[in-house]
Amino acid sequence: MGMKPSPFGTQIPYEEKELKVVGSNPEARPDAVDKVTGKARYAADINLPGQLTGKVLRSPHAHARIKSIDASEAEKLKGVKAVICRDDLPDMPVMHAAAGEIMVNFRDVTRTIMAREKALFDGHPVAAVAATSESIAKAALKLIKVEYEVLPHVIDVVDAMKPDAPLLHEDQITKGVEPTPEKPSNIAAQMVSKLGDIEEGFEQADLVVEREFNTKAAHQGYIEPHASLAIYTEGGNAEVWTSTQGHFLIRAQIAEILEMDISRVKVTPAELGGGFGGKNMIYLEPLAIVLSKKSGRPVKMVMTRDEVFRASGPTSGTNIIIKIGITKGGKITAAQAILNYQSGCFPGSSLPLCTPTAFTRYDIANVLVIGNDVTCNRPKVTAYRSPGAPMIAFGVETVMDEIAEELNIDRLEIRLMNAAKEGTQTHFGPKLGPIGFIETLEAAKAHNHMKEKLGPNQGRGIATGFWNTLGMETSATLNVNQDGTASLIYGTVDVAGGMRTAYSQIVAEELGIPFKKVRAIQSDTSSLGFNFTTAGSRGTAAGGMAAVKASRDAITRMCEVAARIWEVELDQVVWEDGHARPASSNVGEFEPLSLAEIAMKAGFYGGTIAGHAEINVTGGGPGFGTHLVDVEVDRETGAVKLLRYTIIQDAGKAVFPEYVKAQFHGAAVQGIGLALNEEYIYDENGVMANPGFLDYRMPVASDIPVIDTQIVEVPNPNHPYGIRGVGEVPIIPPLAAISNAIYDAVGIRMRDHPMSPPKVLAALDEAAPATAAE
């Protein structure tokens, strides 16, 4: 989403066939044992001889002009080998590029990794040191003298949009507004998506409901902090091991920021301890390289949790106004959304990605979505699992419940009456192809969850979600080994969702060999051509398509070998069930040749067998889901307890069903955390008050009820296995589903996130002040 698909892209039509490997759970997950025994190597586990420890000095101010930096005392400290600040990084002009699902501007990227004119948020890097030990590096940080001129700051998105708000960028004129404003503002850009005639649509409505919602910034919460190890050699080459979702993008960003040739930079992605969109950006990598260049030694940098929270990408906090018009008969005639999104210290929130999701679950003729991208004194936001979409769904799905109640229509029925289906015109451009949204709603209706009895102060909530599947550049090489095994070198980082397993299943299915004969291995940037980052739910869909292409390429090569052995033409050989066979009895009487036999003889008959894919995938299929949740509200404390949760989602085709369910679970749990307690809290100085898991309250296991999952399979017609992305859709509904359940339980509408106990209790007290005294 957000980027236009290439007209030269690759789509492979869905083919219904009997499957042996795809669609069933393999006996074992290939990465599991090394992970649970601690042998898997994450970036922080990798070391080089003679390496130094790098640490970052960060601004304690939310907004301050940096008047001077004096590192001379730090440089004199024994054990300090290099100190860098803004002067050690080249300045960058305005230059846009895609970093995962979000666009970046290199002028801003270089200023995000190291402040130049101003520190723009609490935690903004202002200098970095490399020393022989961590304690020396920390001591050196204290010796760096930074002279700040503290400026007024602005944290809240609504405050930042006010005409008299402190400006982060004095030259920032709002883009996308006609006529061009004369005065600068924190509104970096306005984006509009529309369909039909919104005014006419509201005129046709018998009921119009408009509501305002506010959500707080939230962090992806990956367990593994950012970590990088870098070495820069006298030969002018840089090598980096890092925690990332997309090593090719990291390489491109490093090369751009440090004015190096891409060929001079090699990036190896380590095993990833979670990213969820937050690891598509460079933070430590260029600093480690510059420190290595200056010191002549490898430099390792690992963020603390405090640094992760204060200075790596949260998702936007938002202010959202949703307005929906509907006829008495239950047909939505118009829908409007105003989306005010924090972008953090530089422009570039997730608005271009989430705007298309606003109303796409429903067939609505008249739609207007206006998005404002607003700079404020916070870390630059990055993508977070369906970036920006859960907050819009929070608004839309709770308003859907309100209108259903007002019109006395069942909550599932009103969604079914307006549900998007094949042929529905979206407000962001294309018409929808075959999708499984109605199937998820029907499955919800029939689910036994709907029959469970609710007690006092208990309620049930329903909400839906939609996210598209990204394609983009995808590369893979399949090497058929001499012993009849196959090694797939993949470029789409396995972000711990288990894509390597799915790829192996697909290769095994294509080649007709057992799953355990295939191993999928992560590439570094030198072993494959450019591959886009793992974002937009593209991992299994796009990487899987590349695996198909590479497998079929290798099969052609194997058929060539068979043709040479049999002295027949290539088109007289077919591949079936792991063997080359004569295409018909007319070709001649030949014993089928197995993959292992061909692999062994291939050297003589033309050379090693390998298959390749270097494609731009455009066959991603939209994913839809419906969630059900039961809650119980403690009227005296405002605590919301989840009793039961059900996720129903169209996966197109589940390659590894247990993994698909795990994606459903993981995303929903993140959404539940977002709904209940997670929020960035700032003090009056604009300093983050809760930069740790103790007070940034992600849910713990005992906060989560039993989660049921149901996989719906409506195949994606443009993917050979019908695959749709599954990882992002299930984080979208929980906010709204829980809000709707709280209303069902105790009759209060929660429109301010998070729905934490103090907020719920305050809303209860407001709703019933008379009974509170009793």
């Binding site: 005296e636 740790g692 309250r697």
Partner: protein, 291 residues
């Protein structure tokens, strides 16, 4: 660079001498679940760490004639595994079993919980309500003080340089006594109390409450003794009217702050709610003859 020293004394005298020498920048380490975390977060930079886990007096749980004594470095799990202690002091165990995760409780001690001096410490309100005292040893000798006199403010204690808490003493309670502790946290576990309430109450043969003690956590700079709240129970059968008075008095006693963990209004209100709930548990235990 200065180096940090780590010492593991095996006697109280050695520990006291080391700490007295270390002056203000020495830290006592038992389970380390606060000290090590604070060091990692750069909140403290001690020159000396004195690990007290190898001093036998600090590791024992003993039933004495007049009550129970347990060492300040006894871990939460060691208490949880001590059947008789758990049966005798369910209110204390309500608090101990809420500290961190099971892994954390495997290391964390009540002594550390008390001396870390967080107003939200989960073991403290129930200890205060039960009338617990602490035995302290230092360069000037030994002294016994009520548990509530240790913390003087967030992170601050009345302990002088060289002093350590050796053990806690829980005096035998009168027949018909029940104790309980509950806290409110946004998460179900692995969290810090927004409000904590510990109550101990004693019923006479006629079922009338003859004495009570109410301690509130996380609503002031230190755990508070809410005398008016206790008085609301005394002379009653802990009925609805008494519980209403208890809740109002508990709320009135709060002197909380607004912070990232909760607002003043919220803490005040929930203190009353919890006091009522905790009193009912204490009542049930008193009727069952526990504690």
């Amino acid at each position: 660079m200065t180096e940090m020293k780590y010492e593991v004394p095996t006697s109280l005298d050695d520990a006291v001498a080391l700490l007295a020498d270390g002056k203000g920048n020495a830290k006592v380490l038992a389970g380390g679940t606060d000290v090590l975390v604070q060091m990692h977060m750069d909140l403290i930079e001690p020159d000396l760490i004195v690990d007290i886990k190898n001093i036998s007096e600090l590791r024992q749980i003993t039933k004495e004639k007049d009550g129970y004594r347990f060492g300040a470095a006894v871990s939460g799990v060691e208490l949880m595994d001590h059947e008789d202690f758990c049966q005798t002091w369910p209110g204390i165990m309500d608090g101990v079993s809420l500290i961190g995760s099971l892994q954390v409780k495997g290391r964390a001690s009540v002594g550390g919980n008390v001396c870390n001096a967080s107003p939200a410490a989960d073991s403290v309100p129930a200890m205060i309500a039960a009338g617990a005292t602490a035995t302290i040893v230092g360069p000037k000798g030994k002294r016994d003080i009520p548990v509530e006199e240790i913390a003087t403010g967030p992170g601050q204690t009345s302990l002088e340089d060289g002093e350590i808490v050796v053990s806690f003493f829980l005096p035998n309670s009168a027949p018909g006594t029940g104790g309980a502790y509950q806290r409110f946290t946004p998460r179900t576990e692995m969290d810090i109390a927004v409000v904590g309430v510990g109550i101990s109450l004693t019923l006479g043969d006629d079922g009338v409450c003859s004495s009570a003690k109410v301690a509130l956590g996380a609503v002031a700079a230190t755990a508070l003794i809410a005398e008016a709240a206790a008085a609301a129970l005394v002379g009653t059968k802990v009925d609805k009217a008494a519980l209403d008075n208890l809740a109002a008095a508990a709320s009135a006693a709060c002197k909380p702050i607004d912070d990232k963990r909760g607002t003043k209004e919220y803490r005040i209100k929930v203190a009353g709610v919890l006091a009522r709930r905790v009193a009912l548990i204490a009542l049930e235990r008193a009727l069952g003859g526990k504690e």
